[in-house]
Amino acid sequence: MRATVPNPFDELMEHAKRLADGDTREQIVASIFQTSRQICQETVTYTKQEKRYETEKLDRIFTSKIWGFPIMLAMLAVVIYITIAGANVPSSLLAEFFGWLEGYITLLFQQLHAPSWLHGILVLGLYRGTTWVVSVMLPPMAIFFPIFALLENYGYLPRVAFNMDRLFKKSGAHGKQSLTMAMGFGCNAAAIMSTRIIESPRERMLAILTNNFVPCNGRWPTLILLASLFMAAGYTGGWKTFATASVVVAMVVFGIIVTLTVSWILSKTALRGVPTHYTLELPPYRRPKIWDTIVRSTLDKSVYVLKRAVTVAAPAGVLTWVLANIHVGDTTVLAYSAQLLDPFARQLGLDGYILLAFILGLPANEIVVPILLMGYLSTGALIEVDGLQSLKQIFLDHGWTWLTALNMMLFSLLHYPCGTTLVNIYKETKSKKWTFLSFAIPTAIAIVVTFTTAHLVQWLGLL
């Protein structure tokens, strides 16, 4: 127990306060800088003058006012183009392989005279759920992550932050928010932790609340899948991939616009204030160790995300199957819930199953599409799903149009953060109110945007 006698610490603080004046920090920092400079002058020599300013020269291009943004967009487009173009074939092959294997597993179950409910849970629920995640998600991840990691190790990402800085400042947020946003492209939960680099609590909160508007690992595959199935239907070959990539890029840009707009509105209302100054260091460009980077990011990141997806997808698969097979009256729990949600979902251009998949997918965005498929498949005759075309057929059979796909993409982009992210937000903010808001704001935006899109398209008679 501490006694409340005059505290020597307080006295000390008082004493120091009397001595200190306003620019102590500047004086301290100036002396430190001067010492560093002096030491370097006496210990460092430059033998290749032309190499000394290499980074500066490159920066003049990458962070140029004119070329900065076009280069950024082009890079993003190229990365996504390569991902889509490269992922198609292995995705189909994997799906075919798993479908082929499923036939044998089913045979095995029949040989053993296993009860049909066991086959249902294990094969139609667990096996299908997990293999779907693997075949749909693994190929794009195995391409996307290594390319992203190469750019990251080369030192390009901080330049992205630098380019974005002005926009964030204008919207009343901290420039470093562009860094945490970029981190969100990998994983929102990790990005929430990374907002610690922002000193001011107000700006940190802005970064936390808006982080979700960029697609994370769990949502990239959904966006890419839906874009390639529905958005480029009128094109073939290379153009098809190009159109798909453009749609995905447009989604990302839209997400960034929403981030900036929400930041701007919040900084004018609930989180009022002026952005603080800061220095952003641009690290030197370094040639990455290419093979190291590729191998490590493929192994580490892809396997990590996949593991997470599978560990969540497996139980979710079982749960979905159970819900789809427990009958209440003459309908299943799953179908009943979907019907309940349907009228509302229709207003958003979705359907009850899609909304239900998003709700059941709260623990991890990775499992939304698998849950949706399981939901669809449980309703009618079971289709053998092999390859992307039959996947599209399932969607079409359930009344999908390009508008459904667009709205699902928008909803996926904008809706509430996943369970892990929410837990992290609570841990970081220690506030139920802000955690709730970080759930409510994106959800409200997702509803408003999809509602508007759905009704606008119908009103304009585009469909």
Partner: protein
Amino acid sequence: MNKREYTIALAGNPNTGKSTLFNVLTGLRQHTGNWPGKTVVHAEGFFTYKNEEYRIIDLPGTYSLYSNSADEEVARDFIIFSKPDVTLVVLDATALERNLNLALQVLEMTDRVIICLNLMDEAKKKGIVIDIANLSKKLGVPVVPLAARNKEGIEELLETVARMVHGEINTTPLVVSYSRAIEEKIAKLLPLVKEVVGEEYPARWVALRLLDGDTSLLHALQHHPHHFLKEGATYACHCAKSV
């Protein structure tokens, strides 16, 4: 002989290869990247060298230790309160001047410092030549050149660490001299600081922080007695609280 485990802290600016060095030393696979702010939360690992156990903590990369932000505070508190047996300050050899600022600040906090001059391969490519012996003499602590991602210089570093934990290296850390006005104030404050916080903490540095109006430090000193955080895990909580 009772065996003890030595604690090593890894400090440095963001993006100097701290995490790479951490991975090399521990064999762990923490993700690394050319990206300031990668290590926001600390990572901890273990390694054995010549039959002795070491625990190594990868502190968040920071440009200063003036507790401007949560991560700077984490790094600062660890060095001050956990008193690691050795603090490795990782510097980017291609940007020595900018990186030295942090090293100088660490030298004000502890004398058990080894400077890791990382990315020597890059520096060589860029034609930057650094007089290691002279740098070491000026800073008053060992300087070890490294190319962590090629695993160059690791053996020398481990040997230096081992010698330092056994007290075989005498260091005389550079004392940054400030303007006369500040030096006078430090002199005035120093006796009182020593009296209140004791000999356990670097008095000159504490005095400087107080002059800078750093109240969070004094709070930390006051509320966390000396045994604070030897076990390591709790400092993360402290940091979260102060956000």
